[in-house]
Symmetry: C2
Subunit: 976 residues, 2 copies
Amino acid sequence: MNTKCPSRDFVYQDWILTETKFNPEQLHSRGTIFTIGNGYLGTRGSLEEGHARGLPATFIHGVYDDVPVVYTELANCPDWLPVIIAVNGDRFRMDQGEILQYERKLDVSQGLLSRSLRWRSPSGNIIDIHFERFASLADQHILGQRCQITSSDSDCLIEIQASINGYAENQGFNHWEGIDQGKTDQGIWLQSRTRGTQIEIGMAAKMTISGVEASLQVSIVPGYPTISASFLATAQQTITIEKLVTVFTSRERNQPVTAAKEKLAQIPDYRTLLTANKQAWDKVWQKSDIHIEGDITAAFAVRYNLFQLLITAPSHDDKVSIPAKTLSGFGYRGHIFWDTEIFILPFFTFTQPAIARNLLSYRYHTINGARRKATHYGFKGAMYPWESADTGDEVTPRWALPDDYYGEDVRIWCRDREIHNSADIAYATWQYWQASGDDEWMRDYGAEIILDTAIFWSSRVEYNSQGDRYEIRGVIGADEYHEFVHNNTFTNRMVQWHLEKALKVYGWLRHTFPERATELEDKLQLTTEVEIHWQDIIEKIWILYDPSTGLIEQFEGFFQLQDINLADYEPRQRSMQAVLGIEGANQHQVLKQPDVLMLLYLMRPSAEFPYNEKVLATNWDYYAPRTDISYGSSLGPAIQGILASDLGQKATAYERFMQALMVDLEDRRGNTNDGIHGASAGGIWQAVILGFGGIQLTEQGPIANPHIPPTWTRLKFQLHWRGQWYGFDLSGEEAGGQGEKHNFFPTPHSSLPDSPNIQGFIFDLDGVLTDTAEYHYLGWQKLADEENIPFTREANEALRGVSRRESLMLIIGDRPYSEAQIQEMMERKNRYYVELIENITAKDLLPGAIALLDELRQTGMKIGIGSASKNAHTVIKRLGIADKVDAIADGYSVQKPKPAPDLFLYAAQQLDLKPQQCVVVEDAAAGIEAALAGGMWTVGLGPVERVGAAHVVFPSLAGVTWADLRAKLNEAAKKS
Amino acid sequence: MNTKCPSRDFVYQDWILTETKFNPEQLHSRGTIFTIGNGYLGTRGSLEEGHARGLPATFIHGVYDDVPVVYTELANCPDWLPVIIAVNGDRFRMDQGEILQYERKLDVSQGLLSRSLRWRSPSGNIIDIHFERFASLADQHILGQRCQITSSDSDCLIEIQASINGYAENQGFNHWEGIDQGKTDQGIWLQSRTRGTQIEIGMAAKMTISGVEASLQVSIVPGYPTISASFLATAQQTITIEKLVTVFTSRERNQPVTAAKEKLAQIPDYRTLLTANKQAWDKVWQKSDIHIEGDITAAFAVRYNLFQLLITAPSHDDKVSIPAKTLSGFGYRGHIFWDTEIFILPFFTFTQPAIARNLLSYRYHTINGARRKATHYGFKGAMYPWESADTGDEVTPRWALPDDYYGEDVRIWCRDREIHNSADIAYATWQYWQASGDDEWMRDYGAEIILDTAIFWSSRVEYNSQGDRYEIRGVIGADEYHEFVHNNTFTNRMVQWHLEKALKVYGWLRHTFPERATELEDKLQLTTEVEIHWQDIIEKIWILYDPSTGLIEQFEGFFQLQDINLADYEPRQRSMQAVLGIEGANQHQVLKQPDVLMLLYLMRPSAEFPYNEKVLATNWDYYAPRTDISYGSSLGPAIQGILASDLGQKATAYERFMQALMVDLEDRRGNTNDGIHGASAGGIWQAVILGFGGIQLTEQGPIANPHIPPTWTRLKFQLHWRGQWYGFDLSGEEAGGQGEKHNFFPTPHSSLPDSPNIQGFIFDLDGVLTDTAEYHYLGWQKLADEENIPFTREANEALRGVSRRESLMLIIGDRPYSEAQIQEMMERKNRYYVELIENITAKDLLPGAIALLDELRQTGMKIGIGSASKNAHTVIKRLGIADKVDAIADGYSVQKPKPAPDLFLYAAQQLDLKPQQCVVVEDAAAGIEAALAGGMWTVGLGPVERVGAAHVVFPSLAGVTWADLRAKLNEAAKKS
């Protein structure tokens, strides 16, 4: 294949990429490749000392700002990297003096980027310089840098300048207005704000020098706060400079600069932070690693691709998603495409489900944008944008503007016509649900996505009465070379599939969570007519499938287009659209990426229509040779590789796989400078696990049917499926079978020290210290009495876990009440409940609660409450434990509910404790998850199925002592 | 009228504007108002210490860079202003501590901006700070700043940081890539380059501190080189900080940063530079001032408007022009409109004709862009862009992009339809020629503009055979509220007028400069058919004029549009287009600006059709009430004021005048923050001189027929008309009459010391040291001999000053030669000429040349040659004077020919002399002008009519001695 940029200067080890030569021509592609990050931010591999053509970039999830034409983009944030070194007055730069030795390493096992070099200055001094940097995965707001300098031949005067550069730019545009900056005891800080979206950022930095006496000065250059020092370095003496940076934005904190300054004042030294970072990475890789033996390039490159996804995975934020170019480059402006749901998501669904949930929740939180888009185009429901950013509104640019004065503006039609992504998002939502069994999320988030996009489709399809069929006209399918087509099979079948699943989800919801079903019926105007319409569309939508041959036509009239032999155009270095022109490509049977084959790939897991082996073979033979797999979309190769593997075409499978695998490490498409090909990286995981690993997901769990490349001697990985981990350790002999169940849990999600230093406890209220089920009963009883309906404590047992509406229905039976009366009764019961909990007393404390509280207070523990209830203060007072409680975080304290860690973090803050000094006691899965996300110790009360993720599990608080608890926590800490 | 922003905090004196209060709400409008400049650059009135919402901006003529949507813009250049002061650690800022006293002054007599304040720091220290700045008019590459600090109550630690800020931005976009920066003995320097156009800038700065001992440190913060110092200031002691900055771009110098560093090393102190600047301003105001008594607001505000034009007037560059918002703001991105030719130019034509010529020459140098535009739209000739920048290509944006995701893009049609400016430019070209009598410029530049735009018109008009008339359909006229109209009278009549003048210019050229006429005939394909076509268009173009009433219809169908009573919409704060919408305005009889009245105004000077008093009155009554004079275009009020004055409507005249006069000082339209309304400022000059002064230009010179506002007791000004100055000193009693002739000449154009310190001479070659006429004769003779045509030395006399083609025609008489043969003979003769000058010897030296050269060398003078000839080296060698010459600047040395100073500056540089140490000896007007522009002493050889601008004039070098010359130069120096 294309080896335009062979990476002769790259050496691959299991976890380490080493660049042996600095080539300024590759400055920007290498800037992408050496990106590091921690799921909060990504920082490109720019040079600490700067470079004439350098484009340092740090992107923080969700920090978008306005920009003309493309509406919004991820703002390049102030640069935390600058460290300038001058040796006897000569400023160190890669393009001055002489580089005598050079090595740059990326250690993906811990996200550590380093550079070692020996430099002869223009004046002839020779010094060794070693740089390191990492973005802490243990605490996303901490960034670390180290620089070690050794003068190898003579004493010399060294000047150091460590800065935060507020003049970061997006292709020349600086999104930031400086608000303020200054000095602290510790160093410097900078406060800036995006011009349009008014997002504030606060950064603080300090520098320490060891190995020599040096005093630090701080300079107040506007927008470029700088700490500097100069000292005499004696020969052969190593001097270490450590620069620690903290960063917050107003997305997380009201006073980000205060938060940055405070954190900076508290953090330990570089070495300690790096250790915590490494531990955090160990836990991530424990789940997400793929271990390959026999092919060192693949072994490293697969990890490299997964690393690039992991560093951009928003583990703490469910209002952002992964941009097409991750957080590693300016390409596509940080916009989010179907790439995330279809290509990237499976990796997370099966190895980091909490992150998968965050990514999908982003679509839930932006659904109002999708609704505005639907309204704008005259449709109903939610029409997801082709390119999405912070609001979910459509941000695909309308125009590709010409470079010259009289050139034509080219209209970009994806915003209007490439509509399949609303079905793609529904597909991903369904798949996540299938894999995770996360019914709560499906109830609260997923169902609304699937149903409101289904409503969009029912307004978008057109009924053709002549053919008695539904059609979807005027679209762009997955293949973007054809810009205005009718009845694209990919789109039509995905819509049909979507509506099938929408009916199932709706049925499930009505059955399992009827109150939520009612809520969505009201909100989305879901009626029986809508259901019938969906069913009708499913039955009658036009699918261009020929049952006699199994051949699928990509869209109406595709087979009438001019045919093409791609071999006639080889060799080439451009896409077929560039060769033929936009109109030319439209008129030929040439594909930018798989379309029919993409559909078959998506229908493959459950072998749904029209997928079967014969259909795959037939359509592969037709479409694969007509697909511009080298210079079309980077979304193609991994998927085609998997299908080739299914078809036993081993050479092609491996070739396509390598094409995807090395797309960035070898800059195969010449655009790695724009950022990592995120979809391709996601495709790699699918290619290894679903292609070579041949994983099939069955009711009994995942089963491997491997087709491992000949050189691979071992392929080892693990998958999370419906609450269980399955480990696979496959040899090259293609022996498959079911995976071995693992129990990774309990594992803390974030890094906690090996020996806990507990200073306080945070208790959930309902279900932990007290139980309000009784008051619900009393509320119903009062209502039933007033209505003269028989009701008993026994009958009440049937209402546990049943929604308010459904409970009422059970009570009233077939008595004839109007909807208005039902509504009134529901409200009345709730009013009674709220009044009743005013009557709570100490007797409502659950067994063991008061004893443990008292024991803990005697040992000096601080006690906090972390409850989502808005009545928490009242309840605590009534329970008579107000004097045992130091702080209360309740339903008014934070915005984001559990499983976000906010509530517990707030409580810890109120207690003046660090998260790792706190134990959270919870009875709900979301509560345990929230505490783990907050970096706290966790005690789960209840069945392991529900709270098994906690460090320690008890059935209830009855009989629990501090000694007992402490022992179990220490044990858990050693395991993790 | 609108007094939305009454300037209660402004005090006006004759030459000085004083702001008595700092209001951060007015930060940006005041930033415009306090702009200073020197014709090379403009710097907005930003604060030295910065401001949170500050937008410091410096624009340099011609420094455009690429930008999306609007194609190109003036790049905001690195900011030379930053001076940061910290008092006992408190950084001085207007928004911190307390401002106890405040005053900001702009002295327009010398372009000096100052700010004096007393500040109480947050820690309680009280200090007085006085800032000053100027951009030197004496040397455009020098910028000066001074800051004086006095601690009023106690000793305190002062820290000072003086910087160049390389992060200047255009609405967030930084056009500059840093190349390098560093320290010098003197201070700091910065080298940057625009991203797209690759224009390099070099800036250097130094700082001196007097009044205290303080050592300076230089910091190497990337892109922000900084000199800093800290010192203890004792109470009541004044410390003076002077910061001098030099700036060059690659538009003037190959190595701009070297030039900046070298100049910085040479320049004297602040006081000396400020004095030179003042002297340069004195000379400018001597010609351009308008002196008003009896109305202090008008007295200052008129000067203020002229000042804003003068600081943006490119006196040294004929490849740039004045943008609509001058060099004072970001509005319209530094693009150039008809505003310059129609509104601004007359001020320069009549008071600074050399600048007027530069401005018009810009259109000549960008005519190829106008040709590309014509070609793009399918027309012939030159179609000037509606918005123009560096190349003359059309840079009007196509789209006004929406702010929101689903808003509509609004198509901007001016680029396609507002075509009248090609006629406007021709109009201005003609007027300049009429006023200046500058035949050479008309021959070399103006004629090509007028003729090639006339060719455009003949391809743009449409012949309507039914009506036997020419029409111009689908245009926007001067009134931009109507976006697609047919036969706009303004456009049609301007085209007719243009073609009338094109025929005259063509006839004049054929008669006076037949060689040039031939050249243009060939180049532009000017044929008899074209002339006939022009004549036909003139006769038959449709003008919607009703001779019975004198009423003119603005365009076809205007009178059928819905009528409007603007009073019904009062009071309002928006334009009528904003009130009615784009379509609504299109459908009403409402004008954004004068259209028919604008035409009458342009036809007024020579009372050409359809102008006469009755027509004016009729159309005034119809159109003035329908014109949105308050919130429509700012181009309207001054022009309507003049016409109202003509009509004896004194109150209206004064009201309109004040509306234009105070548009920026009182921010009447709320958009002064975007930059000075340049066209309105130009209109002010026209309103005072042509309106109130009632100046009419007659064959006998300008005549005043004043209508002076009642409060004005005196109106004094001067005009340049056909080589003569005319002074007017009018009282309020409306006594008019002819102006008094002045003789400002000889005045050096640039500032030269009173006692010349001459170190060298630069001689033009042909006509000064030698004469090549003889070789032309010999060339013709050889040709004639070969062709057997009788030819004699006597016959040759008739060929002096006659073009090559015309000479050949005289020689061959009526002999029948084909065009091909004629071409061949012309080439042959030229070849002979080039061969013949190889035979030049010392006897070809002109009388007196060798004697003067020898005498000068004996006195130690350096001798240079400055000749446009590409054979200069050969000729000098042949003349035997090579050993008497230290440096030769020839046709290869520089790009810009005389009258640009480049060639002589290059020669001076080669001689290692400063311009003011050089005497240039020249026989051509353009050469004298070039030398004056370069700041050199000048000796003219020949008639005063030709070289009268020189400091000293001789008939020839015969008998000229150094003693003689020195005496005359000293005398001239005292006069100037």
